[in-house]
């Protein structure tokens, strides 16, 4: 609502501008007459109008594009074009044709003028009716810490009504004050303001203040620094936690399918990564279809890709189970080798069909961008993946616990012959279970296509990690997989700042190797004879 209003306002102003332009014209013309001092006077008058239409003129003056046309003394913007220069009206931006370079003369500026310009610009934009512009202006002042802007800031502050912009202006003012020779009392107030802001920029300013100000300011600044640093560390930890959660959810997605095939069925599927890859390529294909036939609906492509990827990977999974794996039940090491062979063949197949290079998978608009949460930056893409991972996990849990199919799966995996004696078609259940695990891998592929390169090697990067997650969490225990994924994700991200990404990963691997030796059956181990059998 608010937004809409401000847009409307901006539009109104745009329509109203020409009426002002007439009044501004003589002031603009005055810029081009005479000495630096004259220009400075004209500039001051221009700024006094408080009319934002003057902003482009002053900006042109700042960049050195403002010229006087020798023929009629009109002030124009001249930019290089071809051999000559292209002229435009500084106020309206209307094209005034081309001219020879010698036909115009640049309005020169000196240092004093330069300062006035930025003060004028700051004042004008700070007064802009558009709150966004005002805010940007305040932020610009915060960065430049230009003492000349102080007056303009105070004027603007007196009129400002928008809470957010007001805060930004206050902070800008504090930054300027600290940079000025203001009395200590003012500086201390400024330190407090910056402390409340509490980000890295504020920290830099506070550090500067602590090194330059009087003893009292110094003490206050140092306290403020400590408090800001603590706050930053806290947010840093929170950010790491979020990254960890985000990586953990990716690991979870990649590992859930494995938790079904390896954890529940005991089939060690080295081609699991390729199931993920197939899911990613399915996403690519679906998006291609959307791009060609319904570009307007592109935002929906991911949603369509989900079932497609599930079915594609699931079907490949069922085919693999029926043709290879079913002959190898009870021979885990052979299964490992055969499925590794399949993974090689699948990679090569995809390479032959789609080429060895990365394919472009786009993000729908609702998955791009980011938002701030306190000191955290959270991208929508990552957020959706976290949500999605938990949804898939919950859905699988329900499917295994609450549905007849889930009951059949558990019956068959626990006692095959008994289950078959009770009339369960074990072969069918095997195939469907494997299909389910593979299908979930396909879903993971849809999610990973958003954050990783879609190439034939996509799956290879995840296979070892997924196995680590499942083994670490405890085979045959979905909750273990969840905990394992999140724990490994966070540990990885917390190690990264200290050890670097690669070394962090190595440390995690070593940790898992040692962990498995301590607890060969994982975090949440099953016990009893069933395990030994």
């Amino acid at each position: 609502m608010h937004r809409v209003l401000s847009w409307l306002l901006a539009a109104l102003i745009a329509v109203a501008t020409p009426a002002f332009a007439a009044d501004l014209d003589p002031l603009v013309r005055a810029l081009g007459t005479g000495t630096y001092a004259d220009t400075e006077k004209a500039l001051a008058k221009l700024a006094e109008t408080g009319d934002t239409a003057a902003v482009p003129v002053i900006e042109a003056l700042q960049t050195g594009d403002l010229h006087v046309r020798k023929a009629d003394g009109a002030v124009v913007v001249a930019r290089k074009a071809g051999n000559g220069v292209a002229l435009t009206d500084p106020l309206t931006g209307a094209a005034l044709g081309e001219a020879d370079r010698s036909a115009v003369e640049k309005i020169k500026i000196n240092n004093s003028l330069r300062r006035s310009i930025s003060a004028a610009l700051g004042a004008l934009t700070l007064m802009s009716p558009n709150p966004q512009t005002r805010r940007q202006a305040a932020d610009a002042v915060f960065k430049s810490r230009d003492v000349n802007a102080l007056e303009a800031l105070d004027t603007a502050l007196a009129k400002e009504t928008d809470e957010g912009v007001r805060r930004a202006m206050f902070q800008a003012r504090a930054a300027v004050v600290l940079n000025s020779s203001a009395p200590d009392a003012d500086k201390i107030a400024a330190v407090e303001t910056l402390k409340a802001r509490g980000d890295r920029d504020a920290l830099a300013l506070l550090n500067a203040a602590a090194n330059s100000g009087g003893a009292e300011v110094k003490a206050v600044a140092e306290r403020a620094i400590a408090s800001v640093e603590q706050r930053l560390a806290l947010w840093g930890a929170a950010q790491n936690l979020w990254y960890g959660l985000s990586l953990g959810s990716v690991l979870l997605l990649a590992a859930i399918g494995l938790a079904v095939t390896f954890g529940v069925m005991g089939v060690i599927n080295m081609a699991h990564g390729e199931m993920v890859m197939i899911g990613a390529y399915a996403t690519f294909l679906v998006q291609e279809v959307f791009r060609t036939f319904a570009p307007g609906l592109f935002d929906l492509s991911i949603l369509v890709a989900l079932p497609v990827a599930f079915l594609a990977s699931g079907a490949v999974g069922v085919a693999i189970e029926r043709s290879v794996i079913r002959w190898l039940y009870g021979r885990p090491l052979e299964t490992l080798l055969a499925t590794w062979g399949l993974s090689l063949a699948l990679q090569q197949a995809v390479r032959s069909i789609f080429g060895p290079t990365n394919r472009e998978v786009g993000a729908p608009s609702w998955m791009s961008g980011a938002f701030e949460l306190g000191g955290l930056t959270i991208t929508y893409g990552r957020l959706w993946i976290v949500v999605f991972a938990f949804l898939v996990f919950a859905a699988l849990l329900v499917a295994l616990r609450k549905t007849a199919f889930g009951l059949n799966i558990r019956a068959v995996t626990q006692n095959r012959s008994m289950a078959s004696a009770m009339g369960i078609r074990t072969a069918r259940v095997d195939a469907l279970t494997f299909g389910l695990g593979s299908g979930i891998a396909g879903l993971a592929g849809v999610a990973l296509s958003q954050i990783d390169n879609v190439s034939p090697n996509l799956g290879q990067g995840y296979i070892i990690d997924s196995f680590m997650v499942v083994v670490f969490g405890g085979v045959g225990n979905l909750w273990g997989t969840l905990v394992g994924a999140l724990a490994l994700g966070s540990v990885n991200k917390f190690l990264e700042p200290y050890a670097g990404a690669v070394l962090g990963k190595i440390l995690v691997l070593i940790f898992i190797i040692l962990f498995i030796q301590r607890r060969p059956r994982g975090l949440f181990a099953l016990k009893g004879r069933a395990v030994e059998a």
């Binding site: 060690i268 290879v324 002959w327 190898l328 009870g330 021979r331 885990p332 090491l333 052979e334 299964t335 490992l336 080798l337 055969a338 590794w340 062979g341 399949l342 993974s343 090689l344 063949a345 699948l346 990679q347 090569q348 197949a349 032959s352 070892i464 196995f467 680590m468 083994v471 690669v502 070394l503 990963k505 190595i506 691997l509 070593i510 898992i512 190797i513 040692l514 498995i516 030796q517 301590r518 060969p520 059998a533």
Partner: protein
């Protein structure tokens, strides 16, 4: 004592294999050096190096078969030991370059100069001596395997779990060796070797010398492995493979037996790697990849696990096939390799030698204690 040990170990298959190796050790030098270049009998340096490479792989396969075929430990990380041996040799060869590098630094290898290193890292010292490097070729993989096995076997990690952590081990090493600040040349590894023991590494005579050394190493490794598996210790190993906990109840500390075989196997793999590097002229972190380890497993599976001769046969055949395919039909190689994995596990659980024996109708023969195809467990 030793002769009895040897006699016990060498059966008919071993005799055939050693005879073939002896013929190679004589014929290849003659064909490469004495036959005139235009004669059909002439072997190019390239071919000699290729044959040498196959035999290095054969030694790796023998090492792998010792633990997989006889102890039931499916290692998906043997390439790590192979590569470590290779790196040890590579470091020696780097130091041999001396001031002949591109940057002409008297001590530092080129990549260190390039990375602005000021002095040699401590672990590069000693590698200018051949004897030291040769010791490290065996010791580094051996110590790593011992430490890893000590933890793993003592905590009774077995089966696929063990396989997966061996893979994690080699994966971690690969990541580590990719890092520039590890001091092993990062991504590019070690290469541009000039001389070995003072001989020009490109010279045909040196190539032939390296080939003969490989033949000798393979023969020695094979003999050692056959003697081990023929001894009572070998019988214990097979018993561990088939029913480990039963063996414990007989009073054998199975962990020690596994550790013995595992460490011995890693040392052999290290030697294979060390001979491989001067013949191919490079060692880089991709040797640590999971794929190289698993490929070695398939050589053994193709030849027939639990038969040392099968491991040799499989390594040579598959690598010959690989050379052929990657030259003639590169697109198809991965399909062929993938298909091989599937076909062998489904239809040839005992490998080619098993098939041959079955055809002859006298399986199992002699000392060929192929594993039960099904993963049955004792007790």
């Amino acid at each position: 004592m030793l002769t009895r040990f040897l006699l016990m170990g060498l059966d008919k298959k071993a005799g055939v294999l050693l005879a073939v190796l002896a013929v190679l050790a004589v014929a290849v030098p003659v064909m490469a050096l004495a036959a005139p270049p235009d004669s059909p009998w002439h072997l190019s340096t390239h071919t000699v190096a290729l044959l040498g490479k196959y035999l290095c792989f054969a030694l790796l396969a023998v090492a792998l078969d010792l633990v997989w075929g006889y102890v039931g430990i499916l290692s998906l990380g043997h390439a790590a030991f192979f590569a470590l041996g290779g790196y040890a040799m590579g470091m020696y060869l780097m130091r041999q370059i001396g001031p002949r590098g591109v940057y002409g630094h008297p001590v530092l290898p080129d990549f260190m100069v390039f990375l602005n290193w000021q002095e040699l890292p401590w672990y590069w010292h000693g590698f200018d001596q051949f004897w030291f490097a040769a010791l490290m070729v065996v010791a580094v993989p051996g110590v790593l395997a011992f430490a890893f096995g000590w933890f793993a076997f003592r905590s009774r990690v077995t089966g696929v779990y063990l396989s997966i952590i061996t893979q994690a081990l080699t994966f971690a090493l690969m990541l580590a060796f990719f890092r520039n600040d590890m001091g092993f040349g990062g991504n590019n590894g070690l290469t541009d070797f000039k001389t070995i023991l003072g001989f020009d590494i490109q010279a045909p005579e040196t190539r032939v010398g390296l080939f003969v050394a490989t033949v000798v190493a393979l023969a020695a490794g094979y003999t050692l492995a056959s003697c081990v598996v023929a001894s009572k210790l070998g019988k214990v190993l097979v018993a561990v493979r088939d029913a480990e906990s039963r063996v414990r109840f007989l009073g054998y500390e199975t962990e020690r037996y596994k550790l013995f075989a595992w460490t011995l196997s890693a040392c052999m793999a290290g030697v294979a790697g060390a001979l491989y590097v001067p013949q191919v002229g490079i060692i880089n972190p991709s040797e640590f990849s999971a794929a190289s380890s698993i490929e070695a497993v398939i050589w053994v599976a193709v030849g027939g696990r639990g038969t040392l001769a099968g491991a040799v046969l499989g390594a040579v055949l598959v690598n010959f096939g690989k050379s052929y395919f990657t030259a003639a039909l590169p697109e198809l190689w991965l399909f062929a390799l993938g298909g091989l994995f599937v076909l062998v596990t489904l239809f040839l659980p005992k490998g080619l030698l098993g098939l041959a024996a079955q055809v002859k109708g006298r399986w199992p023969s002699g000392r060929a204690m192929a594993a039960k195809p099904a993963g049955q467990k004792g007790i």
